[in-house]
Amino acid sequence: MTVATPQDLNLQPEPGDSLQPQGWLKYFSFSLDHKVIGIQYIVTSFLFYLIGGASAGVIRTELVSPMSDFVSRETYNEVLTLHGTIMIFLWIVPVVNGGFGNYLIPFYVGARDMAFPRLNAVAFWLIPPAGLLLIASHFITGSAQAGWTAYPPLSITTPATAQVVWIISVLLLGGSSIFGAINFIATILKLRRPGLKMMQLPMYCWAMLGTSVLAVLSTPVLAGTLLLLSFDIVAHTGFFNPQLGGNVVVYQHLFWFYSHPAVYIMVLPAFGLVSEILPIHARKPLFGYSTMVYSIMAIVFLGLIVWAHHMFTSGTPPWMRLFFTIATAFIAVPTGIKFFNWLATLWGGKIALNSAMLFSCAFIVNFVFGGITGVALAQVPFDIHVHDTYFVVGHFHYIVYGGSVFVIFSSIYHWYPKFTGRMLNEPLGRIHFALTFIGFNLCFAPHHWLGLNGMPRRVAEYDPTFTTLNQLSSVGALLMAISTLPFLFNVIWSLRAGQKAGDNPWNALTPEWLTSSPPPVENWIGEAPLVEHPYGYGHASGALTLDKATGKDLWTGN
């Protein structure tokens, strides 16, 4: 086979290149490189995660005692709103979509960049101003108090400036999400390397395709709804104001038409990332590839028609309750297929229990627990009992923290060598994992008991009988806060002092590992490799000669 060597490559410098900063400065620039943008997303969002985590710390500190004694009730509402908004719109959605998506998808489809690099950079650079606007509002006018759901009439009656700033911020973030989704759909469908079939794509591509379809279909509805809400606040129209003849339930329908799919926008990419990580560290092919693909499609479809299960107590008529209960219960089927496929991938594998794998396995455990409480919540009689209690808070955090955030950490341990060329410290990673896993379960498992016994969510004060469980939960939150320290130290320290990783430390077959670490601009020197079997593991040791299998010659020129 003919191999392009650096000498005979037609490496013409492009006009824009000289304007792109080099070195660390490029991470502060309007860079068009998908890898730089991916890292920008991950690092920026992690900074917002620290702020969102600090606000969670305020919440859990307040809830150590039944009385409102740490912060005022208004401040508690503001911090609660900030926590939800930051964690969803500035941390999980940008990281699992924009962050890992931008970094990995072009590799996976064999492209040199995303379909629209400039739009990609715009999508990222919408995020810092939106986030800073949201957080700055807290210190200037006080932030919004209506929670991340911003239900009217609460959002119409709380201070208007703060709520409008919140709306502008969420609109910017929604725009960023839509632009990103358009880019992913175009890249996956239109930029595939010639010869690469859809059913040969790594699973994360399918997850991102499904997620992006959800984002394109549902995010604009939220944007339109928030526009109407801002009219209600600014121009005193009455769309959602019952006093002026409006209808609050319409807001809830439109809001959840986005915000239920938003859960899948947060968790489907995590499914995809886990599907990449498990086969590599278990040295086995991903079990049930095609059923995984169809499950993602089924989740996308069903995810769009289950929103009203958030509204069983909003005067929803019986036929609607019945429909949304059944549709929601159906989601357990494709999700269950994915769950058992992951187990079957691990089954009989040669499992390396490193930090990445520990976080991924913990994800499976946490997620199945959150999934079971989710099926329970879909049942109307049960939901009416626990609606707006801490049971829902527990369920939700098992999905988005136990699900998505565990996968984010797993992915950082897994792809850090790709990003930097150095390994993360393994003992520190295990300490991080142990603290996070214990802290997380200690923090959120008690919420289920609290909710079943009737503790309402979003309130700064509670009945003194709930004190012990709340204190237990706060200890868990403290452990989670502490768990960030070894992680932070690890990622900063390993940047300079970490063990050299080599190009492919995990002996992986997915395309992003078939180039140098960190990869060159435009990903490959020479042609992109055609990877028809990204999960072709499972040989006796020594049988897998990666140099041959992966086309290493393509990037070293040997």
């Binding site: 392009a4 279909l217 709804t225 129209t237 769309f239 003849g245 319409v250 439109l254």
Partner: protein, 207 residues
């Protein structure tokens, strides 16, 4: 081994780099820009779908207080609808003129299209000034102004796009028979805006 993990270099890329996308990985890939725009229009359409759903629900379950004046006059909006539908055809003529290399007729048809768009906007303003209700009078009024206003914003943007394309048409311009993307994108967007209006007209004026 090959069965499980095969990689092979592809044919050397011969396709030239797309102009205007200096960083684009166009190794023989089809131009994804129109596809990207179409995806965006799906998203934009969903915004309208959300508004339509809200409007229909309001109509179904929130009766207006008795004595509310919500009568709409039909003649002007119907003329407006006709203007927009005609403008879709004139835009199409502009596209055909461009592809057959006739810059001058293309510019003329674009000018006609933009004129029809501006006439629509003027008609909309005239209607606004003569309506018997204001933005906050009742739920129907608010919804009416929000829907038509949001659509009018789209028409305004479309007219600006047409004028920009108009200034770029020419044998050596940024929009030429070999580089029709600017015009095609504006045309796709314009058809979308027209289509939305037809639905909107049916829901607001006829229903």
């Amino acid at each position: 081994m090959d069965r499980l993990a095969t990689t092979a270099p592809s044919e050397p890329s011969t396709a030239p780099q797309e102009e205007g996308l200096s960083h684009a990985p166009s190794e023989g890939h089809a131009d994804a820009r129109l596809f990207g725009l179409a995806t965006f229009l799906v998203a934009d359409g969903m915004t309208f779908a959300g508004f339509f759903a809200a409007y229909l629900t309001f109509r179904a379950v929130n009766p207006l207080p008795s004595g509310s004046n919500y009568e709409l006059e039909l003649v002007l909006p119907t003329i407006n609808t006709a203007l927009l539908i005609i403008s879709s055809f004139t835009f199409h003529r502009a596209g055909r003129a461009l592809l057959s290399g006739q810059s001058q007729p293309c510019r003329l048809w674009l000018l006609v299209t933009a004129g029809l768009g501006i006439a629509f906007l003027i008609g909309q303003m005239v209607e606004y000034f003569h309506l018997p209700f204001g933005l906050t009078d009742h739920l129907f009024a608010s919804t009416f102004y929000a829907l038509t206003g949001f659509h009018g914003l789209h028409v305004t943007l479309g007219v600006i796009c047409i004028l920009v394309v108009l200034s770029q048409v020419g044998q050596d311009g940024q929009v030429s028979p070999s580089k029709p993307f600017g015009l095609e994108a504006a045309e796709l967007y314009w058809h979308f805006v027209d289509g939305i209006w037809v639905v909107l007209y049916g829901l607001l004026y006829l229903l």
